[in-house]
Symmetry: C2
Subunit: 144 residues, 2 copies
Amino acid sequence: MNTEHKPLDYPLSRDEVVQLLQQYKISPTRQRIEIASYLFQRPQHLSADRILDGVNVVGHRVSRATVYNTMGLFTEKGLVREVLIDRERVFYDSNNSHHHHIYNVDTGELRDLDSVHVDVQGLPTLEPDLDVVSTEVIIKVSSR
Amino acid sequence: MNTEHKPLDYPLSRDEVVQLLQQYKISPTRQRIEIASYLFQRPQHLSADRILDGVNVVGHRVSRATVYNTMGLFTEKGLVREVLIDRERVFYDSNNSHHHHIYNVDTGELRDLDSVHVDVQGLPTLEPDLDVVSTEVIIKVSSR
DNA sequence: TTGCGTGCAAACGCTTTGCATATTA
DNA sequence: TAATATGCAAAGCGTTTGCACGCAA
């Protein structure tokens, strides 16, 4: 998995998308480019279904299976993050900077929280054979 | 929702389970008592399916629908927490003390992390109409 | 021409729901 | 006896998979 996180300059041009895919060792097929272009218009949280709709409005047709395959691949390669907060579906996060989330349990709104401002301290020492993959902070808020 | 979190003394006796349910404004039917007794044997993370199996081994029969209804109710009332980390299924957490989680992405193991040792600082000021429901820290680790 | 990627439809698995029956207050 | 809870089976829905076809190296 690519662990670099140079800040991206949203929205990404087609060429930048291609470079990004290659950088993450993903061969840039037409469908993958279209999906990534849609994702990296801006930092956002999208479900597979919304990606499918979004891509098929602007570009050529991409099948549901390809969206799922592609998002699985993008996640595996570290290009996007899965956000598992909503019980209903998985969200894919195109914000590649280090950040946390604020989730409104009443509206379902998912907002980014810049990790520069958040500090997690006092973690225990883990077994030496364990690598920390990520540290996520999720603040759940209610507007009721 | 009941927000008290007196430390529980695991495992809970049948009487303590009944009191706990009443404290959370849940009327203690036979099935709910059996499910809660199974959950509160110890702090643990269980899927609906494992609850179903566990309850039906030791006690009377409880249906799948009742397990789902009951866990939905327990969650709504604040008796247990849903932990949404694994894409496959929801885990219900019977540890009622304030804590975070360490999730091993390779083995699927989910471990508690006492919140006494973790400090989250630098949260932004939220809109005044928003209440913070919870602050969760999830450390993902890999053993590969 | 060999392997990888895509698309369709069917299958899958967790969860929810409709409705009849049972239990509780 | 009215309201709530339970159980069964079927339906729902996001996601995955099998397989044939297409495309690229």
